[in-house]
């Protein structure tokens, strides 16, 4: 079988069950450079399961040709594509992803937002703090606000204290409880 034919079959398998997908993904990673452009096209199309499973493979390959489509996919309406794009971008070695995540966060699908916020927490980079504060003021989902106050607390930056104090009065009890906890981590007496 020619390599283009094999790639076509492997791409079709990306829509399959988890074991079938995993085998196809492993083989695509083995094929390396030759699969980057066809997989980037799938990510661009943003259609269904194959789009985000392709993004997973591109993350493993960390090829610079796929970078722009993965960045664009952070804002995809396909929720899992946004999630997989964020995970993929984290796998590029030596690249500063924080400005990319910060720029994409306000427009991302809410599930991708949750992933990006957790990624910012794992990155531990305090440059994200002003944006996270801004998002805390805007986020409609209490789940997202909870993730934001957790991350602001974990980042340990005192600039977050006024926003966290305000969040002690949030309408949602999870947000209020986690704001108190985050303020404790920051050593703020308002935590009680």
């Amino acid at each position: 079988m020619s390599q283009p034919d094999e790639i076509t079959l492997l791409i079709a398998a990306l829509d399959g069950e988890p074991e079938q997908r995993a085998q196809a993904q492993a083989r695509l990673i083995e094929l390396g450079s030759a699969v980057v452009e066809p997989l980037a096209a799938l990510v661009c199309a943003q259609q269904g399961r194959r789009a985000w499973t392709a993004a997973d493979v591109l993350g493993e390959l960390a090829d610079e040709r796929a970078w722009p489509v993965l960045v664009n996919a952070l804002r995809a309406a396909n929720a899992m594509l946004g999630v997989s794009a964020a995970k993929a971008l984290l796998k590029y070695p030596g690249v500063d992803v924080l400005p990319i995540f910060v720029a994409a966060l306000p427009q991302a699908h809410v599930m991708a937002q949750q992933t990006i916020i957790h990624a910012l927490q794992h990155l531990g980079d305090r440059r994200a703090v002003p944006l996270l504060i801004d998002q805390l003021h805007q986020a409609e989902s209490p789940t997202i606000r909870t993730a934001l106050v957790q991350t602001l607390g974990k980042l340990g930056d005192p600039r977050a204290i006024p926003a966290l104090r305000a969040a002690l009065h949030d309408e949602n009890h999870h947000v209020r409880e986690w704001s108190a906890e985050a303020l404790k981590w920051l050593g703020d007496p308002a935590a009680g």
């Binding site: 988890p18 999630v83 949750q114 957790h118 209490p142 789940t143 909870t146």
Partner: protein, 135 residues
Amino acid sequence: MQAHNSYLYVEDDALSREVLETLLVEVMGAKHLTVFADSENFMERLRAVDPPPDVIFLDILVQPHDGYALLRTVRNDPAFASVKVLAVTASVMAKEIEQLKAEGFNGALAKPLDMLTFPDLIRRLEMGETIWQVD
């Protein structure tokens, strides 16, 4: 790895339901996931789940009966003696974890669910590990 267990998730937060459903069904290929958006008539609905769940995720603050009350009703029914019950809670501080262990939960997951780490937690759960995701 495919998720093979039968799962039940009791959760009143819509985004948390969407996240877990996407991860278990779409990403991990789980064939059996049932979701309750509240805890009304819980045992009656639990007995109707087919196949019966191997794992129950309970939001601790679900209404009208909270996760602790639901756990007690599950533990009082011999038909569910072997089911694993995990708390899904935003309160994962050490004091709350000790309380969850004392009440008889088999594990806990922090909420909001972290999509970066959740699939690995499920893999570990399916391998028989106990998960206490204390953050």
